[in-house]
């Protein structure tokens, strides 16, 4: 696969980055120039496109040198598409002119104060010759359309497949004893002998349509995924198939191998620290704080060298033990240039009997849960610190709410 050295002509705006991919907004009609030698040498063009429409009602059509190539609906958010280029155009040795046309644009009321005509976001492009990849991209889109239709029709027995698949890369952990809020013992009883079962790149491919239909593979291991001996291969597979991997890590498994495996891969890496100081960290996990921040700095440097495709999300679960670290956690996020600080709720276990003495602190799970008023205070402070330190906040307490648009903001 070759990254496409394209020339952005009319209808494209300046480069931007939205914490997922670098992109340019395109207007309702936009024109790209593609190098003649790439057009002659490749069969397909893959493109990342972001649409703000959640019902596939925004459609795009592409024409190369006046010849229609394809027309299809766009999926909400970022998705990877593949277009057959066919026989090169009749434009001599000059670049081919690829024209994008949208049936409608992102309504101006959702981006007040921005007078541009914003259609959709065009992310990275790449030429390729892989017919299977092209067919998989078509399968992916057709399935996503069917899945959306079945959901809106209220169907319960589905002919479609999920667009997010949860996976379980590794069942063992390097933090022993386990983190104070981890329900390790109960989970390992549930897992039974499956703790030993292999989940690698071949396993994911064996999921067949469940793998092909997935836009994201979300790792939900009770274990540290970076320890998997097939970690590199799993990420390579995701990259090859235009899929994003969501991976949570405790931040204590960064080595030359894992950093190299991560840098340049389409991964949203959730780093669960929950602390900004050695003392608080010791109360939640262990005494290994000193290695973590330098490793995160190194990871940041390596991912920048590789084009910043890897995104670093720093997780903070507000609890009584760590709420005093909130502002320092924002400073830490700024220091390591994290893409986002993630506020994640402590799992409501009802009436847990989890009590642990760690780092000179008595952690009682039930007592660590903040009341809703205290959580709201965390939100208020987070808004404040987000502005002060220029750190974006991704609030997972908002799970299930519709995305906020500029027009709905106070």
């Amino acid at each position: 696969m070759t990254a496409a050295p394209v020339e952005y002509r009319e209808g494209f705006f300046s480069p931007e980055d939205d914490r997922t991919l670098p992109f340019r907004w395109m207007s309702k009609r936009a024109v790209l120039a593609l190098p003649a030698e790439e057009l002659r040498g490749h069969e397909y063009l893959s493109l990342w496109i972001f649409s703000d429409f959640a019902n596939f009602s925004q459609r795009i059509s592409l024409a190369l040198d006046g010849r229609p190539l394809d027309e299809f609906p766009l999926m909400f958010g970022w998705a990877s598409y593949s277009v057959r280029l066919g026989t090169p155009g009749t434009n001599g040795n000059g670049p081919g002119e690829l024209v994008f046309s949208l049936n409608k644009v992102y309504p101006a009321k959702y981006h007040p104060g921005d007078g541009r005509e914003l259609g959709a976001r065009l992310g990275p492009l790449a030429f390729h010759d892989d017919e299977v990849k092209h067919k998989d991209a078509k399968f992916f889109l057709d399935n996503a359309i069917l899945n959306d239709r079945e959901m809106r029709q209220g169907k319960t027995h589905l002919a479609s497949y999920p667009t997010n698949v949860g996976i379980d890369i590794w069942g063992r952990c390097n933090i022993k004893p386990h983190c104070v809020y981890c329900t390790w013992d109960a989970m390992k009883i549930l897992e039974g002998d499956n703790v030993e079962c292999v989940v690698d790149d071949k396993t994911l491919e064996s999921y067949g349509p469940f793998f092909k239909s997935a836009r994201q593979l979300v790792n939900c291991s009770i274990g540290e995924p970076l320890l998997s001996p097939r970690f590199q291969e799993i990420l390579d597979l995701c990259q090859r198939h235009g899929k994003t991997a969501e991976i949570s890590t405790n931040g204590q498994a960064f080595t030359r191998r894992t950093i190299q495996a991560l840098a340049g891969k389409p991964v949203r890496l959730y780093v669960s620290l929950d602390a900004a100081t050695k003392e608080t960290y010791a109360k939640i996990r262990n005494d290994n704080w000193d290695e973590i921040v330098p490793n995160l700095m190194l990871l940041n440097e390596e991912r920048k060298k590789a084009g910043s495709v890897l995104k670093i999300y720093m997780v903070f679960i507000p609890m009584k033990v760590n709420r005093g670290d909130l502002e320092a956690y924002f400073r830490l996020c700024r220091e390591i240039e994290a893409d986002s600080l993630v506020l994640r709720p402590l799992l409501n276990l009802g009436d847990p009997k989890i009590e642990v003495d760690r780092g000179g602190y008595h952690f009682n799970y039930k007592n660590e849960m903040l009341s809703w008023e205290e959580v709201q205070e965390i939100f208020r402070l987070s808004d404040l610190y987000a502005k002060k330190y220029g750190v974006f906040v991704y609030n997972q307490f908002d799970f299930g709410l519709q995305p906020k648009h500029a027009a709905e903001a106070p």
Partner: protein
């Protein structure tokens, strides 16, 4: 890539298409194949099938019931015990407004049920794990 979806109103240039969606989209859009079992969403609890039954579980009776309730704007009995879910927490907060924090806790199990649970599952499970760990330690040492 030419299929036209049936979502409506497709022609409204101002409509971003967020209306007409179920209470939660997860059991249609997501599916978790985990060592501990199959989950219909990232906040789901308990498991709905063993890991090996993932193919059948996608359209199994339990997930169909969850989808049915959500498409009718209701939380299923499964969702209501998945207390880690922020949607469930919002629902419980709204339902129990003014009753204090205790309201978001789950219904408590009776001591008899807890004792049976402990005897039948937790203690044998711990014994099984201890034996397995000892076996593995011997194997790898």
């Amino acid at each position: 890539m030419n299929e036209t979806p049936t979502a409506s109103p497709l022609d409204d240039p101002e409509d971003l298409g967020f209306s007409g969606l179920p209470l939660c989209r997860e059991p249609w859009e997501s599916f978790y194949i985990l060592r501990r079992g199959i989950l219909p969403c990232c906040h789901g609890n308990p498991i709905i099938a063993p890991m090996t039954d993932w193919e059948a579980a996608w359209n199994g009776p339990q997930i169909q019931e969850i989808r049915d309730c959500l498409s009718r704007g209701k939380l299923s009995s499964y969702c209501l015990v998945s207390l880690g879910c922020p949607i469930v927490q919002r629902f419980l907060r709204e339902k129990n407004k003014g009753k204090g924090d205790e309201a978001v806790a789950p219904p408590r199990r009776s001591p008899v049920v807890l004792a049976i649970n402990r005897l039948l599952f937790r203690i044998p499970g711990k014994i099984h794990h201890a034996l397995r760990d000892r076996r593995n330690r011997r194997k790898y040492s």
